[in-house]
């Protein structure tokens, strides 16, 4: 899974820490999400997308072959 969280975060001039605070998670969780190492729940994905003023399918890119 690839994500565009970092791209959107930078666009909104948010730090990982600030985004984590807005979403209500730890900074490490944001790091894992940005690196595509953690599959979030639908709720968390929705919250991240909402914080970045976009949609879930815009920031989470799923490889169909996998």
């Amino acid at each position: 899974m690839k994500t565009r969280i970092k791209e959107y975060r930078v666009k909104h001039k948010l730090t990982q820490e600030k985004l984590a605070e807005v979403v209500g998670v730890r900074r490490e969780t944001i790091i894992f999400l940005e690196q595509g190492k953690y599959n979030p729940s639908l709720k968390l994905a929705h919250n991240v997308a909402k914080a970045l003023k976009t949609t879930v399918d815009e920031i989470f890119i799923f490889d169909d072959s996998y």
Partner: protein
């Protein structure tokens, strides 16, 4: 507030256990406990020092804790049985309780830390088939453990019961010596246990060191 109370309760418990361990001169176990607690709580401690508040317990942390509790529990129980087996069949004549408990504590703690730190990396890399294999190996270890304990207990109970009802020389008169069935099952379960644990560790490390999907 609730989080802070839980954190303080865990810290005080760890402190009390450490003092008890030092008082019984189990220094290396105490050190392992301190190091383990610091590794597990370093983010919380750092956050308390820097921002005077605890970080949130989000879904990732909750998932990791749940998985590590489950894995740690499985390992601890299997390791306990593995250590109890030689006691029961008297392979170890002079067991040092503190050393045995220390070894158990350290090995259980290591697996607990490994799964706490790396499970979320291992899980997606293993894939469905790999996870199924891991589950099978853990089940083999768990079942063999249960079989081992039950066999050892039944072995002793049946041995004792027959002596109680038929006299002290029953096993000599029977010609089969000691009651052998459960004894053999107990021994075989050690092999199955070893296969289960080694298989689980192989799968775990395979997931840890393989490339991302």
């Amino acid at each position: 507030m609730k989080k802070r109370r839980v954190f303080i309760a865990i810290a005080i418990t760890a402190l009390i256990v450490t003092i008890i361990l030092i008082s019984v001169k189990a220094y290396y176990v105490a050190i392992a406990l301190i190091v383990g607690t610091l590794i597990m709580g370093h983010r919380e401690l750092w956050s308390l020092i820097r921002r005077r508040k605890l970080p949130p317990i989000d879904e990732r942390v909750r998932e990791n804790v749940n998985k590590s509790i489950r894995n740690g529990f499985i390992f601890l129980v299997t390791a306990l049985a593995f250590l109890m087996l030689p006691f029961s069949i008297r392979l170890i004549e002079t067991p040092n309780t503190v050393n045995v408990l220390g070894g158990l504590f350290v090995s259980g703690g290591m697996v607990y830390l490994l799964s706490y730190l790396f499970y979320d990396r291992v899980e997606p890399r293993l894939g469905e088939r790999g996870l199924r294999m891991l589950r099978i190996f853990l089940l083999v270890a768990g079942i063999s453990l249960a079989a081992g304990i039950i066999s050892v207990v039944l072995h002793n109970v049946i041995y004792g019961l027959f002596i109680h009802f038929f006299g002290a020389d029953f096993w000599d008169r029977s010609g089969v010596g000691d009651e052998p069935v459960f004894f053999i099952i107990a021994l075989l379960s050690v092999v199955a246990f070893a296969v289960g644990i080694i298989g689980s560790l192989v799968m775990f490390f395979k997931g840890l060191f393989s490339r991302s999907p």
